[in-house]
Symmetry: C2
Subunit: 302 residues, 2 copies
């Protein structure tokens, strides 16, 4: 197995193109291209679909998966058998996680390990299913998502529940949900939705006995979402953990106090991912539940 | 021109698939598929690449561009010539913008228009070039980015400058940038970078006379970025506008007070985009410069 070839494949996929891969590897673009072709002639099958960005074929994914695991094992080896100049910041882990975790508890949970181990993180925020697909293809070493079932070769660990509250600014509450309001009001009040795949509002409204349509904005940004809520543009479902201050200050208020939606969060990680991934797993297991617990807030009935 | 067919095309592209398009239109999936095929037989060329998600061909893009403009014109028509039941929340504008604008000034700038006109926004956060490509293909009605040159058929309006500051938590400053530190320290201190395309750090470091490598985390989330800064995981370039509070409270401090990087922001919009897009343009022109000006903060030398 020639790891120079695998390294070229990994760089093209991680960097999203041949040009950036060449920059990262300090090679010419044609040298990278040659390595990929050589790899394909050895494998006897294409490893990349030449799209923008390039996408690994199933054979390519299998190779990347292998490469990721070898990298993690090499890091452990180098701790025990130092070989030449490795510097203090050599190890990166690629992790896929949901945007709301990254916007809330993630940084506090991983900061100690980054400092102690010199760990560098390549974070990817994706839809739930994309994160697990990256996991399956070996593109990432771990993944935070709501699915309990691990992919083959991996384990899944429950970290806790993220509690989402339906909130709005007071004047929006007064306009659309005055005392004595009834379910059809949901059809009038503009909502803010994270993306077309986001089903939280539908779950919440179904719990409230409303199944109809409702007007909505699409806002694919956790911080932008809270800014739109605070600007009075609409109501929305947001992690309690993200708006502790806004609830305390009375900037945002729950529409139906006490009626949130819980989303479980699982940490998916490779079974033989090496020592650093194990340490990250331990770190998450010990710190995430407490951090997520702080989000189990609920404002008092108004 | 049969607008039922164009509507099917727009739904498939906007919803990212035939199944969701069918749901939105209240049709069966095969009916949507039939409409696309009929459109292709009339155009004499494919309008969609059948990928996941489906991508419009150049011919399809031209049709979507037309559809977007017709929708905006129809809205104006309906204001003057009401036809049947239209409801209060009929008009959506799709806008591409950079994540940092969405995380800071955008909501406050557009909130009044959303309320007055019942405007609903489909926001997309993309790399700079993707936003302009969406503009060119007619997928979006407007776009906020750093490029001054408008695409054909559109105009570009300068909104102001976004000022980015290089900041870190005090203990990180003390570790890597103690009194008397010199340029090579940049090669040791872990940075936080938004994504592989993000060149802000490189511009800033070049201004500081440093051209070498540096260790970095990748964090593609505006709020996650600030959380990682506040957790002491690394230093990073962040809009002053986004950390006014953290600077005031002394949670984050500038590494080199007064040495920021300015990024100009332009509003790109279709020349014949209809009255609502004109109103949005006026709203942005009158409110964005003042909001962006609040980000021209700089902490005092420590």
């Amino acid at each position: 197995m020639d790891y120079k070839l695998l390294q070229a494949l990994a760089a093209v996929v991680e960097q999203g193109g041949f040009e950036r891969a060449a920059l990262t590897l300090g090679l010419s673009q044609s040298a990278v291209s040659q390595r990929i072709k050589l790899l394909e002639s050895r494998v006897g099958a294409p490893v990349l679909l030449r799209k923008a960005p390039p996408v690994p074929t199933p054979a390519g994914q299998r190779l990347l998966n292998h490469m990721q695991q070898v990298r993690l094992l090499e890091r452990d080896l180098l701790q025990d058998v130092p070989m030449g100049e490795q510097g203090g910041w050599q190890t990166r882990l690629r992790i896929a996680l949901n945007a709301d975790s990254l916007a809330t508890w993630w940084a506090a949970a991983v900061a100690p390990l980054c400092e102690q181990q010199g760990l560098l993180l390549d974070l990817l925020t994706d839809d739930q299913e994309v994160g697990l697909r990256r996991m399956r293809s070996g593109e990432v070493a771990g993944c935070v998502c709501a699915t309990p079932t691990p992919v083959a070769g991996a384990r899944a660990l429950k970290l806790g529940d993220m509690r989402y509250l339906a909130v709005a600014r007071s004047d929006l509450l007064a306009t659309y949900f005055p005392p004595g309001w009834e379910a059809p009001a949901w059809g009038q009040a503009p909502a803010i939705v994270f993306g077309p795949d986001d089903q939280l509002q539908h779950r919440f409204l179904a719990n409230c006995g409303y199944q109809g349509e409702f007007p909505y904005h699409l806002c694919p940004s956790s911080e932008g979402f809270v800014r739109m809520l605070c600007a009075g543009i609409g109501w929305g479902m947001v992690p309690g953990l993200q708006i502790i201050q806004e609830l305390e200050q009375g900037l945002l208020r729950e529409i139906l106090p006490g009626q949130g939606v819980e989303v479980p969060l699982y940490w998916h990680y490779w079974r033989n991912g090496g020592r650093l991934l194990e340490q990250l797993t331990q770190q998450l297991a010990s710190s995430a539940p407490g951090l997520l617990g702080k989000g189990q807030v609920s404002s008092l009935p108004s």
